[in-house]
């Protein structure tokens, strides 16, 4: 059984004039110690997907359907009280901006001890020892000193290390990291990603990494999901998708990267932009930007088809697979 299994998750936002559907039919699973990447552009719903796992979506958002099974128990149906025992304890989260996540008026030590004592009944002294141990794990220089420092005394990279240390405090099963390095410089980003990857491997923690950077996904994760306009359009092993993307959107996303083009030549570009939730196109949401769109794509949302280990929601891909099958049958 998978550690975390999300089945047919629907998330909506109740606004004037009816509900907006932010996530539609999201299904995926995460095994123990596995690293999964969630990729997409802004507005694709990747952060909503991550937040809804711990029911952190703020009003007027709500989970309209589906299940989120963590070790067989449905997080979506849990009371706030039960959920609090899991949040931060069994499933930890790392957010994008470390300055927003740390309390500016409390020392690092106070904040770390506080989160341990919220879940464990141990003495403050023991909690402080755990905090110190985690700061050492994230390779912060002179960790004892840091415990008594305030967030503003640390640099951006150091703060993100503290955040990772806090996420590790209670030995979680899953860490959900929402764009953990977007606010950082490249050299610092490389160090933080390296650290996160090594810690997850050492401690056998599962990682759900939300990012828009395909390079990072390729370095860190084993499997990935590509989201577009609130749906998963492609999911499978990271290497397979990066090397041979099936969905026209994923292909476009990869080919639009400057490193894929010849220097000085025009880049491949996907026309248009992601639709807003207020007017999601009918059928496949990508059809207005897609070169392969047919009448069928405008009518109905394609089902997932399997191509190797990858599952893709695209009529064009389904047709190609169908053709190939027929050709093979004709040959034999």
């Amino acid at each position: 059984m998978a550690l975390l299994e999300v089945k047919d998750l629907d998330v909506r936002f109740a606004v004037r004039g009816g509900d907006l559907t932010a996530l539609r039919g999201i299904s995926f699973s995460l095994d123990k110690g596995e690293r999964l990447g969630l990729v997409g552009e802004s507005g694709a719903g990747k952060s909503v997907a991550a937040f809804s796992i711990l029911n952190l979506i703020a009003q007027p958002g709500y989970i309209a359907g589906g299940q989120i099974l963590f070790e067989g128990k449905d997080l979506a149906a849990m009371s706030e009280r039960e959920l609090r025992r899991i949040r931060g304890n069994r499933i930890a989260m790392i957010f994008q901006d470390p300055m927003m996540t740390l309390n500016p008026v409390l020392t690092i030590g106070t904040q770390m001890v506080e989160s341990i004592l919220a879940h464990r009944s141990i003495s403050k002294k023991e909690a402080r020892a755990i905090a110190l141990d985690r700061l050492q794990k994230v390779q912060i220089p002179s960790p004892e000193k840091r415990l008594d420092q305030y967030p503003h005394e640390l640099s951006g990279g150091m703060r993100q290390r503290v955040i990772i240390a806090i996420a590790l405090l209670l030995d979680p099963e899953i860490i959900i990291a929402d764009e953990p390095t977007t606010a950082l410089d490249v050299t610092i980003q490389a160090e933080i990603m390296d650290l996160l990857l090594n810690l997850c491997e050492q401690e056998n923690v599962a990682l759900m990494l939300i990012t828009h950077d395909l390079g990072v996904v390729s370095q860190v994760t084993q499997r990935m999901l590509v989201m577009y306009s609130g749906r998963i359009i492609e999911q499978g092993p990271t290497r397979e998708i990066i090397n041979d993307a099936q969905h026209p959107y994923t292909q476009g996303l990869i080919n639009a990267l400057p490193q894929m083009g010849e220097p000085g030549e025009r880049l491949f570009q996907i026309p248009g932009s992601m639709p807003s939730l207020k007017n999601v196109p009918t059928g496949c949401p990508f059809h207005p930007r897609c070169n392969f769109a047919t009448e069928q794509c405008k009518q109905s949302m394609p089902e997932y088809v399997r191509s190797g280990n990858v599952s893709v929601a695209c009529y064009e891909v389904a047709n190609l697979i169908e053709q190939e099958k027929r050709m093979q049958e004709a040959e034999s």
């Binding site: 552009e41 802004s42 640099s155 990279g157 150091m158 410089d185 490249v186 050299t187 610092i188 980003q189 490389a190 160090e191 990603m193 390296d194 990857l197 828009h212 950077d213 395909l214 390079g215 990072v216 390729s218 370095q219 860190v220 290497r239 990066i242 476009g252 996303l253 990869i254 639009a256 990267l257 400057p258 490193q259 083009g261 220097p263 000085g264 025009r266 880049l267 491949f268 570009q269 996907i270 026309p271 932009s273 992601m274």
Partner: protein, 336 residues
Amino acid sequence: MTSPLVSIRGLEKRFDLSGSLLEQITFEGGRFRRKQEAVHAINGVDLDVHKGEALCVVGESGCGKSTVARTVMGLLSPSAGEIHYDGQRIDNLERKDSLPFRRKMQMIFQNPYASLNPRMTIQQTLEEPIRFHHPDWSQSRIRDKIQEVMQSVGIDPDWGSRFGHEFSGGQRQRIAIARALAVDPEFIVADEPISALDVSIQAQVLNLLMDAQESRGLTYLFITHDLAVVEHFGTRVAVMYLGRVCELADTKTLFAAPRHPYTQALLSAIPKLEDDRPNHIRLKGEVPTPVNLPSGCVFHGRCPYVNERCRQEVPQLITTDSGTQVACHAVEEGRL
């Protein structure tokens, strides 16, 4: 080689942190003292931008790349040094004398959500610079010009009566580019023009900038932290660290054979699609604050090849066999 279009000589820029005279005075050890502190944003930068090229300036936050852009544009006045445009010094001009240069030099900013006036329609936004620089133009001539630039950036001219908030991020950046192109500039300073945009939109805007360069013969000073964009877009690259240029080379040469240890670390840190694991040169420590600059080479605290000379003496840019200019004692002495 012909003379450069823009040339920057010995540029320095300090931002005073210490406030007014009264705020500077402190009482220490029984006597009053005057304490002055400044951020040393740029510490002696020499750059030439040649006609028709795209010179990219890269570096991490706080290295002074945006300050260079703003100083060149005259949005900030340099603390020392000179800026020349087409042979004429422009950093000390009176407002009236600087007008013709302002038309020839235009800027595109990072955040298109902040750089468009929310209370102006697109028509008004584009009209303003034209009216300012060409007070003698007739209404119909202005209208034609606006039509032309809007078409060239792929925005429907019928949308002129809309406001900025009605457009997506990519469209707004196109409008910001149209505003820069409206007065037919020769030289465009683009300060991180695509970093606020999504990947698929970045490609659209980069293509647009390259098309404009070709059709209008533009010269770019392109500020970015994204090295993949530089490799694609830049003719030459200047790598900055703590307010100094540490390496300057043709894009191809720089990416094929980076010489400065900082450039090497920076290039290795880009996450690549073909990597299965992070695979980068580890630098010790963090970027020092530009308030108290390190002595000698600004990079010496993090450099794996540091020696005594690096701690004492500031390295100057030297030209190597490949044509790369690099400011590093280790390269000069042949240790690297």
